[in-house]
Symmetry: none
Subunit: 133 residues, 4 copies
DNA sequence: GTGGTCTAGACCACT
DNA sequence: GTGGTCTAGACCACG
């Protein structure tokens, strides 16, 4: 498991996002056990507190559940899980639309650019990311 | 002139962005005089220091020029001005592509959503934004 | 025998409390044999260590006695047994009073609410809890 | 401002509770500015991080609002504020009822005890807490 | 081993 | 000065 961090967003939020992506792509499934705070901190090279912060955030969002001292698990609530993919997409689209709306780019021009770049990106992604941690 | 600020990005960067959008849409043209720092601070309800920071940033990017005591003006360099629109679009598309790439949303699905939301947004925008500053 | 655990208090303390409640309500009487650690752990779905810890706690409090290899029994000391009910009530009332004291809720309002909720709760309890372990 | 901490609950939650009580009793009103994290940490003798944690919790609960770098303020949403008192009382009553329900204490006996203890407590509280920080 | 909390001290950007 | 994040390291109870 690897995550490349940017310096704009808080690390713990990037961790949360990473897990959401893992769920959205099916790499993490219902009820699956996730690494302990300490383990995650180790593999991700972050401070255990930061990992803890990320996990707490995820728990508050209902993504994971943790009872007693057993390792935390992905929630079993399917509705929550299934909504994640949609949310990620919706958020991305919302942000994008908000960005371009003010410039009034013609729809056709915009879609053409997006299509081009997306396909380009997917091509790369396949080349790299074929194997999963 | 009104700008609604978010709490995520620095205010001064949002101001810079606002000017870029005004330029990209043709609401601010080559050589046009822009408000003084103090005036902008007043109309935008921001700290004069923030306005100053925004103008400094724009000057460094070559968007505006300030000579002596004369009011600042939009640059007369056409190449700079014409590149702005493209940059804004490119930035938006880059961010968008980066967001969705990890989720591997099928291109068709994605384009459909984007198209829908964009058209929706433009409709609203026309209804509201008929008058400009 | 079933106990529903919360995640706030230590499980072993919740087990102890459960036994106290059984004693206070007369479901466990003077000298009565109680399940072995292992048996309790099984029926309660808890770790044997936790059951052991609970029994140890109860022994220290004088609630149960264990001699040699014989199964543990409820103590025969009546004074201890009779004091339990009072303690449980006192603890509950203490915690409650401490909670509301700082908000200065008028006594009448408070008693009205409590009465309402208590009666409500008892009604439910009767409906469910007719049968005991 | 003083808060006496217990060792059972997390400090940051006790801080949150303290603020809720201040709101419920009217000592903190709509829109009022509250101390900075650092200041609170100083007066309460806690770590700034703990204060930060408490404030974040309160913000997530909608108790306080904080925009940009201005000092945080009590929310202006009256509905939220007015619900706090009720919540505090309801929580206390719920916990109390849950505690005594299992022991099946006769309602009359219980109410008598509560009334006695409450009045006692209020008498003390008046003697002490007449002055507000 | 697990999750959870706390302290201490630092850094950052923004106003 | 403000809010926010992060690291480092410690402690605790629980199982």
């Amino acid at each position: 498991m690897e995550v490349k961090f940017n310096n704009r967003d808080p690390v713990y939020m990037q961790v949360v996002r990473h897990f959401k992506e893992q769920i959205a792509t099916g790499h993490l499934a219902q009820g699956q056990v996730i690494p302990s705070r300490r383990e995650l901190a180790g593999t991700l090279q972050i401070n255990p507190n930061t990992a803890q912060k990320a996990y707490k955030e995820m728990e508050e969002q209902g993504l994971i559940v943790t009872e007693g001292n057993s390792p935390s698990r992905i929630t079993s609530d399917e509705r929550t899980l299934q909504s994640i993919r949609g949310e990620l997409i919706a958020d991305a689209v919302d942000a994008f639309v908000a960005s371009v709306a003010k410039i009034q780019v013609p729809v056709d021009e915009l879609l053409a650019i997006v299509k081009l770049r997306i396909e380009d990106s997917y091509a790369k992604h396949e080349a790299e990311g074929t194997s999963h941690d």
